[in-house]
């Protein structure tokens, strides 16, 4: 049951709509976040670059104006140390010493003059010389052995030496990293929330449509009184329900008119037929002597044939208009066929035709027993009328969920090729047929009234075959 619900959810339009809407929403919010990230990263960079440029200028100034004596290194080093304490975006470093800032001064010849900072100054100098850092434009410096790059600003002092101030990008990256982590968490939550909201609203909306289609599918051949559920809402779905109901009103009216016409036609013809038959029967009981009785008897038989023709043609007409009134109940098709074969077997064997039922067990269908009886009788009557002596008829019955398959085949002459394509139409019959040409049209009408299908063909080895497919009872599908 739960897997069934899962699959209906996965196949629902609500699911597809929510997936696409969520995809669009996720892409949109992702773009917004990327742009925001770029802006924040650029801003942080600008601020640290401004600090670097300012500090390197101050340091250059100090380096230029401090006398080149024994205290020079100590004074400049102290200033650089102080500057490192005012680093922007500063986070507390894990180590006791300050490893986020370095200060480096080279002489005119490019040799290392002064180094303040963590690590080996010469390695840092090598990296600086490789990178070629321009004054007034801080740039990234990748140092061998140090994972996080430095941002380095430089300036040339009046005495020809160069000053480099480096700031580790560690803190900047950490800030951006934190920002990204929060962005992603928030994004995931937003996307999930968006999906939930879209799915819930479309599911609710479409479940109304589903209710309408379920109700509409129940409204069928026998039950035209039912209507689809309507809502108070004035949206498309509410409008759809009201339109369907108006359409059903019109269908019911025309169906009612059709029933009235066929009923009154039947009534108008049946009453005189009843009177004629009754009078004939009464005169038969008076004129009992053979010769006199003969015309009366054949007249009674004609009246019966006319009645049967009237019934069948009205049934076919109603079925063609999808208006045949069914009185359904659960019946076992196998048992029904056994009884019918039992009834027909003697008259078939009288004509030298054999009949056999091949079935694998009970086949339960929800059908109008009276109509199915008449349908099978029509098929069997057909075999008797058209098969030459010595023929064999086989009735196959099998369950092919969700339908019951009933095939009647014989090894007779088969259907005439010119008749075959129109076999199930009214008044179509073989040249030698004495029937009224309604038999197979009636079979077709009854199967369609039961939401089934019927098919006829000539077998390869010779002979005719007709297959009737009828839906099984709901609980046996």
């Amino acid at each position: 049951m739960s897997s069934k619900t899962d699959s209906t959810v996965l196949h629902s339009a609500a699911w597809r709509i929510s997936l696409w809407a969520t995809l669009a929403f996720a892409c949109g919010t992702m773009l917004v976040f990327v742009a925001l990230h770029q802006f924040v990263a650029g801003d942080i960079q600008r601020r640290s670059d401004a600090w670097l440029s300012g500090e390197v200028e101050v340091l250059g100034d100090v380096a230029e104006h401090t006398p080149k004596d024994a205290l020079y290194d100590a004074v400049v080093g102290e200033v650089a140390e102080l500057a490192s304490k005012e680093v922007p975006n500063k986070l507390r470093s894990e180590s006791a010493r300050n490893d986020s800032v370095f200060f480096l001064q080279t002489g005119k010849d490019g040799s290392l003059k002064l180094w303040v900072g963590e690590g080996v100054g010469v390695l840092r100098l090598k990296a600086i010389l490789r990178t070629q850092i321009l004054p007034d434009r801080p740039s990234d410096l990748h140092v061998e052995g140090v994972e996080i790059p430095f941002r380095v600003a430089t300036m040339r002092t009046g005495d020809g030496s160069s000053i480099y101030l480096g700031l580790s990008e560690r803190d900047e990256l950490r800030v951006l990293g934190n920002l990204r982590a929060r962005f992603i968490l928030l994004w995931v939550l937003l996307v999930l929330l968006g999906f939930a909201i879209v799915f819930y609203t479309t599911w609710k909306m479409l479940s109304l449509v589903r209710q309408i289609s379920e109700a509409a599918s129940r409204i069928g051949h026998s039950d035209l009184m039912a209507r689809v559920p309507t809502t108070e809402r004035n949206d498309e779905v509410g409008h759809l329900a009201r339109t369907i109901n108006k359409m059903l009103d019109r269908i019911e009216i025309s169906m009612h008119q059709l029933h009235t016409i066929t009923d009154s036609l039947a009534h108008d013809l049946r009453s005189p037929l009843t009177a004629i038959r009754g009078k004939l029967e009464m005169s038969l009981s008076v004129a009992v002597h053979g010769e006199q009785a003969e015309p009366i008897v054949s007249a009674i038989e004609e009246v019966d044939r006319l009645t049967e023709f009237l019934n069948t043609s009205l049934d076919v007409a109603e079925a063609k208009a999808d208006a045949l009134r069914l009185s359904r109940s659960e019946i076992d098709l196998e048992e029904l066929l056994r009884i019918m074969i039992d009834l027909y077997e003697p008259s078939m064997s009288e004509k030298g035709i054999s009949i056999e039922l091949r079935s694998s067990g009970p086949v339960r269908i929800d059908a109008d027993a009276g109509l199915i009886h008449r349908m099978v009788a029509n098929l069997f009557d057909n075999e008797i009328k058209h098969l030459p002596p010595g023929s064999r008829t086989t009735v196959h019955l099998q369950m092919d969920s969700p339908a019951a398959l009933l095939t009647i085949e014989d090894d007779g002459p088969g259907f005439a090729p010119d008749v075959l394509p129109h076999l199930f139409e009214r008044r179509v019959k073989g040249k030698e047929s004495k029937g009224h040409g309604l038999g197979l049209a009636f079979v077709d009408a009854v199967t369609h009234a039961h939401w089934g299908t019927v098919e006829a063909w000539n077998r390869k080895g010779g002979g005719a075959a007709i297959t009737v497919t009828l839906p099984l009872c709901a609980q046996h599908r």
């Binding site: 009754g278 038989e301 039992d342 003697p346 027993a369 009276g370």
Partner: protein, 231 residues
């Protein structure tokens, strides 16, 4: 012989032709019949007299046959009803009445069938038949428990279906049964086959029941049906 000869029947039918031939044939069958052309007259008659059975046509000029039956039930008429319907399909309301002990016939019908159904209705309402385990018609004898049939002491080799058919003929011995009555009672279906399916069953049965040199028991009445002779 005719224990129902004093049975009183109310016939409600608007078609003059049908009413007159039904009146005549019911009268010939020994019933005392009152006829009404519409619902109003029927109600008046039912209030005055006590009837054993009613024959009601559904298509009356002044009211629906169903509402007439309901009205009659309300004023205390308990007699069973045989419904005559010119409608093609059997309405659910007819089925409801059928379950309530009434019966129906669709027009046009065979007189023999109308009489048989009427007889059944009267029997159902009358004193219950003691369910015999044996049936005897002249020298034909049926043991219903052992499902065995004998003619002049000779056991007949019958199939179960043939036994059921013979049993039905014996129960209606002396009266006409039509093909559609046989199909209804023996095979349980209301169909009108295009071919002579019932006749072949009867021929076969006759071949077994009426041996050479014996008096033929099963008679064919062409255009009407069959009758099992009881005298």
């Amino acid at each position: 012989m005719h224990y129902y000869s004093f049975m009183r029947i109310l016939l409600v039918e608007d078609e003059h032709d049908i009413r007159s031939f039904l009146l005549r044939s019911l009268d010939e069958a020994g019933y005392q019949v009152d006829a009404a052309p519409d619902g109003k007259a029927a109600e008046a008659l039912a209030q005055e007299n006590l009837y054993d059975a009613l024959i009601v046509d559904l298509g009356l000029p002044d009211q629906d046959g169903f509402s007439l039956i309901q009205r009659l039930r309300e004023i205390g008429v308990k007699a069973p009803v045989l419904i005559l319907s010119a409608r093609r399909t059997v309405d659910d309301r007819v089925r409801g009445l059928e379950q309530g002990g009434d019966d129906y016939l669709t027009k046009p019908f065979a007189l023999a069938e109308l009489l048989a159904r009427l007889r059944n209705l009267l029997k159902r309402n009358g004193p219950p038949d003691t369910e015999a385990s044996r049936l005897r018609v002249l020298d034909l004898e049926l043991d219903l428990l052992r499902r065995e049939a004998k003619r002049s002491g000779q056991v007949l080799q019958l199939t179960p279906q043939e036994f059921v058919l013979l049993e039905f003929l014996c129960r209606s011995a002396g009266r006409v049964v039509t093909r559609s009555m046989i199909l209804d009672k023996v095979w349980g279906m209301r169909i009108q086959p295009d071919t002579n399916v019932v006749d072949v069953h009867i021929y076969r049965l006759r071949g077994k029941v009426d041996g050479p040199g014996q008096q033929p028991l099963i008679r064919t009445l062409r255009g009407v049906g069959y009758v099992l002779k009881d005298r």
